[in-house]
C-alpha cells in the first residue's frame, strides 16, 4: 500500500521477477561458500579459548606432520600492518593504531583479546584433515583476567586490553590533552544543541532511565568465507561473499604492498550480510595460506566461529527527557557507552543519531563512549548502533506520554522534526517524511482500533536512518536486438540488481526484462563503495539514471544519422520511442529503441557507456511501527498479535522488495527485543553459539507483518529514492517494550525481554 504518488512511471513501482530469481530457486546460483576449484586446499582457523591472554608460544609441528596438511600460519606470516590510517569500521575505528588493530583482529600476534580470536590457521587437502589439524596446533597462553562489561571496562582498575590506547576526545569541551594513561575508552563524542541546564529548568516533568542491550549477531545464514589464489606472477584473486569487493581489494593491495591492478576480488552471491560482511574476516588468512602453498585455499568457518565474528555492540544507555505538561519536549540528554569488542570502533554514532533523531528538541546533550572489552570485535549490523539508542529514547518517550496523559503519537507529532529543523549533530534536515509517517500511523486502523482482552498491550516507536550515497560505478551496453547489458559494481544482497535495472529501464523506456544486470568482479567495473548503509538502490540508481541519460543522447545521435537530420530535431520519449522531424510527405518519423539498436552497427558501432557517481544528496528515511502483544503471565511468554510497519521509501522502485526489507528488518528487531541474546560465561565464552540457543525468530514466532509504504520523494535523486533497508530494524525494540509495559505494568529496561526476564519480574517475592 502506497500513500502518495505523483508521476506515473512505466517500470518503477511494478513488481517484475528478479533477474537472478530462476537461479536462486533452482540451486544454480553460486554463493561464496559454494566456491570450488580443482586442487584447492581447505583452511581452518585456530582460535583462542581464552578471552584475555598473552600468546607465549605456538608449535605447529604436530599439525604439519599430519598427512594432508600443507601449511600452518601465525601472525608472523602476515604482512606487517601499514602505518596509520586503518580499515573501515562502523563508528570510525581509525586512529593511529587503526591498521594495526585491524591486522591484530585478523590474527593475534601478542595477545588474544576474545574467545574466538584467531591465533593460527591451517590448510590441508581435505576439510576433515584441516579440522583434525586444529587440535594438533599447540598454543601456550598466559591467561589474564578479562573484562566483559562496558561500565566495568570504563572504571579505574579495569583490566587493560591495549597499553597504547588513549581516549580520543571529540567533544567540543575537550581542551586539555588526553590523559596519558592506558584506558579501555577509545573515544568520547558529544552532540550539543542549545543549553541543557536551561532545557531541564523549563521542564515540568522530567524522566530518566537506564537501559541495556545485549550483544546481537546479524545471523546471516551463510557463514563468512573466502577463497584465494595467487598467480605465478603475483596476482591475487579472492572469491567470497563480500558486501564490498572494491574495499576488500584496496585493503588486500595495501596489506600485500601490491598494485590495485594485481588484485581481483570476485563477489559470489552472498547469503546474507546485514553489515557483517562489510569487512574481511578470514580472507587475508586465505591469501597468506595461498601464497605459502602456491595453491587455491578456501577457508571454512563453522557457525560457532561465525558467532565469534563481528556481532553488534552491547550497550548501556542512560536517557533523560524534560517536557512541559502540554507535551513540548524541552530537553533531551543521553549518556551512551557502547562495547566495541576487542578493538575500537563500535557503531556509537548510530545510537547517538537515533536516540532523539525523530524530534526537534531545542536543548540536547549526548555523550557517547566507545569502549573496548574482551569480546569479539563488533561489526556493522543493520542501522548499526541505532536500535540500541532508539530503544532507550523511544521507550522513555512512551513513558513520558503516559505520564503526561498525552496520546503517544500526538506527543511525537507535536515534537516532530520537520524539513529545515536543526539536527542534533549539526546541520539542518532537508526534505524528510518524518511527519508523514507519524500521521499515517496515527490514522491507521491498527492504531485507532481498540485492543481488547486481558494481559494485552500496544506500543509504538519511531526510527530513523541516515542512508548513504558514495562512489558507485556501472556501465551499460546496448545489444543489437535492443536488449541491454548492465554491469554493476555494487553487490546485490537482496534485490538491487533488479531495482537498478528497473531504474535504467525507466530512464530509457524499455522493459526491465530486456535488461540483464550483472554484478561483476573488481577488474570489470570501476571503484564502488561497499553495499551497506542502505545506499545501493539510491547510488546504483543514480548511476543507472546517468547511464540511461547518456544512452538516450547517443540513441538520439544515431537516429539523427539514420534520418540525416540535426540531432537537435530528434526527441527521446520516456516511452522509448524516438521521434524525429516529419518526412517529406509530412509523416511523423519515429523509431523504437529496438529499431535503432538493430542499426547500431551501420551507424557507428556499439553503444557502451560508463557512469561513476558519488552523490551526497542522500535522503534519510523515517519509519514507525505499531505492535499489539499478549503476555502469558504464567510463563512470561510474549505473543505478537498484530504488527504494522510504516516507512518512507521516497519512491518504492520494486514495492515487493521494499515490503520484504521492512518485514525482514522488523523480524530481526523482534528477535533482539524478545529472544536473541549472547549468554556469557564468567570466562568470556559465548555459551549459546549455535542456532539452537541463539534464538532467532522462526516462521512460527511472528505473524504477518503488514507494511505501509509512504513516499516523500528525495529531491536529491532522479526518482526520489531513499534507502529502505535499515530503518525497519530500529523501531521494534521500543514498540515491544511499551506494548509489554501496557500488558504487564512493568517498564523493562533491557533487551531481550525474554520469558525468563518477564516472568521473574512478574513473580511476587517468595514465588
Amino acid at each position: 500500500m502506497v500513500a502518495t504518488k505523483e508521476k506515473q512511471f512505466r517500470v518503477i513501482g511494478t513488481r517484475p521477477i528478479r533477474h537472478d530469481g530462476a537461479d536462486k530457486v533452482t540451486g544454480r546460483a553460486q554463493y561464496g561458500t559454494d566456491f570450488r576449484m580443482t586442487g584447492m586446499l581447505f583452511g581452518r582457523v585456530k582460535r583462542s579459548p581464552h578471552a584475555h591472554a598473552i600468546i607465549k608460544r605456538i608449535d605447529a609441528s604436530r599439525a604439519l606432520a599430519l598427512h594432508g596438511v600443507k601449511a600452518v600460519i601465525t601472525a608472523a606470516d602476515l604482512p606487517p600492518p601499514t602505518v596509520g590510517g586503518g580499515g573501515p569500521g562502523p563508528g570510525g575505528g581509525g586512529g593511529p593504531q587503526g591498521a594495526r588493530f585491524q591486522m591484530e583482529n585478523f590474527m593475534a600476534s601478542k595477545k588474544a583479546l576474545y574467545i574466538g580470536h584467531p591465533v593460527a590457521a591451517v590448510c590441508a587437502t581435505d576439510a576433515h584433515v584441516a579440522e583434525d589439524a586444529l587440535a594438533l596446533i599447540d598454543v601456550e597462553y598466559e591467561v589474564l583476567t578479562p573484562v566483559l562489561d562496558v561500565r566495568e571496562a570504563m572504571a579505574e582498575g579495569a583490566p587493560i586490553l591495549h597499553e597504547d590506547l588513549r581516549t580520543r576526545d571529540a567533544s567540543p569541551l575537550a581542551s586539555e590533552p588526553p590523559a596519558d594513561k592506558p584506558t579501555n575508552v577509545a573515544s568520547h563524542t558529544q552532540y550539543k544543541l542549545g543549553d541543557i541546564e536551561k532545557g531541564f529548568a523549563e521542564a515540568e516533568v522530567i524522566l530518566e532511565r537506564e537501559f541495556t542491550t545485549s550483544m546481537f549477531h546479524q545471523g546471516y545464514l551463510e557463514p563468512t568465507n573466502g577463497a584465494a589464489e595467487w598467480s605465478k606472477d603475483g596476482h591475487l584473486t579472492l572469491w567470497n561473499s563480500s558486501q564490498g569487493p572494491h574495499n576488500f581489494r584496496t585493503q588486500l593491495a595495501q596489506m600485500f604492498r601490491i598494485p590495485l591492478s594485481k588484485v581481483t576480488v570476485v563477489p559470489m552471491e552472498i547469503g546474507g550480510g546485514f553489515g557483517g560482511k562489510l569487512f574481511m574476516h578470514v580472507e587475508p588468512l586465505a591469501a597468506v595460506l595461498a601464497q605459502k602453498t602456491g595453491k587455491a585455499v578456501k577457508m571454512i568457518v563453522t557457525r560457532e566461529e561465525v558467532f565469534e565474528s563481528g556481532p553488534t555492540s552491547g550497550t548501556y544507555v542512560r536517557v533523560k527527557y524534560g517536557a512541559k505538561k502540554d507535551g513540548t519536549i524541552t530537553a533531551g540528554q543521553a549518556y551512551m557507552a557502547y562495547e566495541a569488542g576487542a578493538f575500537p570502533g563500535s557503531p556509537l554514532s548510530g545510537g547517538m543519531n537515533g536516540v532523539f533523531g525523530s524530534y526537534k528538541i531545542p536543548n540536547i546533550l549526548i555523550d557517547g563512549y566507545d569502549v573496548v572489552v574482551n569480546k569479539p570485535k563488533s561489526a556493522a549490523y543493520r542501522a548499526p548502533g541505532t536500535p540500541a539508542g532508539t530503544f532507550a529514547g523511544e521507550s522513555l518517550l512512551n513513558e513520558m506520554a503516559q505520564r503526561l496523559d498525552i496520546d503517544p503519537m500526538e506527543l511525537r507529532i507535536k515534537n516532530a522534526a520537520k524539513d529545515g529543523d536543526d539536527r542534533p549533530w549539526g546541520g539542518k534536515w532537508g526534505v524528510i517524511g518524518n511527519l508523514q509517517v507519524m500521521e499515517a500511523m496515527k490514522n491507521h486502523p491498527h492504531y485507532t482500533s481498540e485492543l481488547q482482552g486481558e494481559n494485552r498491550g500496544r506500543g509504538v516507536s519511531m526510527g530513523y536512518w541516515s542512508n548513504a550515497g558514495g562512489e558507485t560505478s556501472a556501465s551499460a551496453s546496448v545489444n543489437g536486438d535492443g536488449t541491454v547489458q548492465l554491469v554493476l559494481g555494487a553487490v546485490d544482497v537482496a534485490g538491487t540488481r533488479a531495482s537498478t535495472a528497473m531504474q535504467l529501464a525507466e530512464t530509457i523506456g524499455i522493459a526491465a526484462e530486456d535488461i540483464w544486470p550483472k554484478v561483476v568482479d573488481t577488474d570489470s567495473v570501476g571503484f564502488t563503495l561497499l553495499t551497506g548503509g542502505s545506499r545501493t538502490t539510491f547510488a546504483s540508481g543514480w548511476a543507472a539514471y546517468e547511464l540511461g541519460m547518456e544512452i538516450r543522447k547517443r540513441m538520439v545521435e544515431r537516429a539523427a544519422r539514420i534520418w540525416e537530420c540535426d540531432a537537435a530535431a530528434v526527441t527521446y520519449g520516456d516511452d522509448g520511442i524516438i521521434r524525429g522531424p516529419n518526412d517529406s510527405e509530412g509523416k511523423e518519423r519515429k523509431l523504437s529503441f529496438k529499431e535503432i539498436a538493430a542499426q547500431l552497427g551501420r551507424t557507428g558501432g556499439s553503444i557502451e557507456v560508463g557512469a561513476n557517481v558519488n552523490k551526497q544528496t542522500v535522503g534519510p528515511s523515517f519509519g514507525g511501527h505499531i505492535v499489539d502483544v499478549e503476555v502469558d503471565k504464567d510463563t512470561g511468554k510474549v505473543q505478537i498479535l498484530r504488527y504494522t510497519a510504516f516507512q518512507d521509501a521516497g519512491r518504492a522502485i520494486h514495492p515487493g522488495y521494499v515490503e520484504s526489507q521492512i518485514q525482514g528488518g522488523a523480524v530481526q528487531g523482534i528477535g533482539m527485543a524478545l529472544t536473541e541474546d549472547y549468554y556469557w560465561g564468567a570466562d568470556g565464552r559465548m555459551q549459546n553459539a549455535s542456532f539452537l540457543d541463539y534464538r532467532m525468530p522462526t516462521a512460527l514466532d511472528v505473524p504477518m507483518i503488514d507494511t505501509v509504504i509512504i513516499e516523500v520523494p528525495n529531491p536529491g535523486h532522479p526518482y526520489g529514492v531513499r534507502g529502505v533497508a535499515e530503518v525497519c530494524i530500529v523501531p521494534p525494540l521500543a514498540a515491544l517494550q511499551t506494548a509489554v509495559a501496557e500488558a504487564t505494568g512493568i517498564h523493562f529496561t533491557q533487551v531481550p525481554m525474554s520469558p525468563r526476564v518477564i516472568l521473574e519480574a512478574l513473580l511476587k517475592d517468595g514465588d
Partner: protein
C-alpha cells in the same frame, strides 16, 4: 581410520555412484563429492533447515544424515524439484518476492514441496509450523508463507 567408501544412490532421478569419506555427512557428500551445491550448509547441526532434502520420500536435514546411510536410497535436492521449467512453488516464490539473499530458499522450497505433497491445502498456522525448522533472516517469513499459499491455490486449480 575412516575410509573412502563408494555409495550408490538415486539423486534427482539419476542413478549415481560416488566416492565419499566415511565421515562425510550426506550434506558434505552432495556439496563436496558430487558437486550439487544447491543444498546449503549454514549451521551443520540441524537447526536451520538450509540443508533440507527429501530422503526416501521424507523431509530430512542432510547434515544429520551420514553419506554412508544413503546406500540404495532416493534423494531429491533443490536441483531436482523442477522437471520442465519451474514448479508452481518456485514460480510463486519469485512472484511473491519471497526471497532476498536466497540462501535459505532451497531449504524452504524442499520443505514446502514436502508440505504440499502431504497437505495440499494447509492453513497459515500449518504452513508456519511445518516451516518452523527453516530459518530465514532476510524476509521475516511473511512473503514465504504467502508464496506457499499461492502455490497451494494454483496446484489445487484455483
Amino acid at each position: 581410520m575412516s575410509d573412502r567408501i563408494i555409495i550408490q544412490a538415486t539423486i534427482n532421478g539419476e542413478e549415481m555412484e560416488f566416492l565419499a569419506d566415511e565421515r562425510d555427512s550426506l550434506l558434505e557428500a552432495l556439496r563436496e563429492r558430487i558437486g550439487l551445491t544447491g543444498t546449503k550448509e549454514c549451521c551443520n547441526n540441524g537447526n536451520c533447515g538450509a540443508c533440507a532434502v527429501i530422503l526416501d520420500g521424507r523431509l530430512v536435514n542432510s547434515c544429520c544424515v551420514m553419506a554412508a546411510e544413503v546406500e540404495g536410497s532416493q534423494i531429491t535436492t533443490v536441483e531436482g524439484l523442477a522437471q520442465d521449467g519451474l514448479t508452481p512453488l518456485q514460480q510463486s516464490f519469485l512472484e511473491e518476492a519471497a526471497l532476498q539473499c536466497g540462501i535459505c530458499t532451497p531449504g524452504f522450497l524442499v520443505s514446502s514441496t514436502a508440505l504440499l505433497e502431504k497437505n495440499p491445502n494447509p492453513t497459515e498456522h500449518e504452513i508456519r509450523f511445518w516451516l518452523s525448522g527453516n530459518l530465514c533472516r532476510c524476509t521475516g517469513y511473511d512473503k514465504i508463507v504467502r508464496a506457499v499459499q499461492s502455490a497451494s491455490q494454483k496446484m489445487r486449480g484455483q
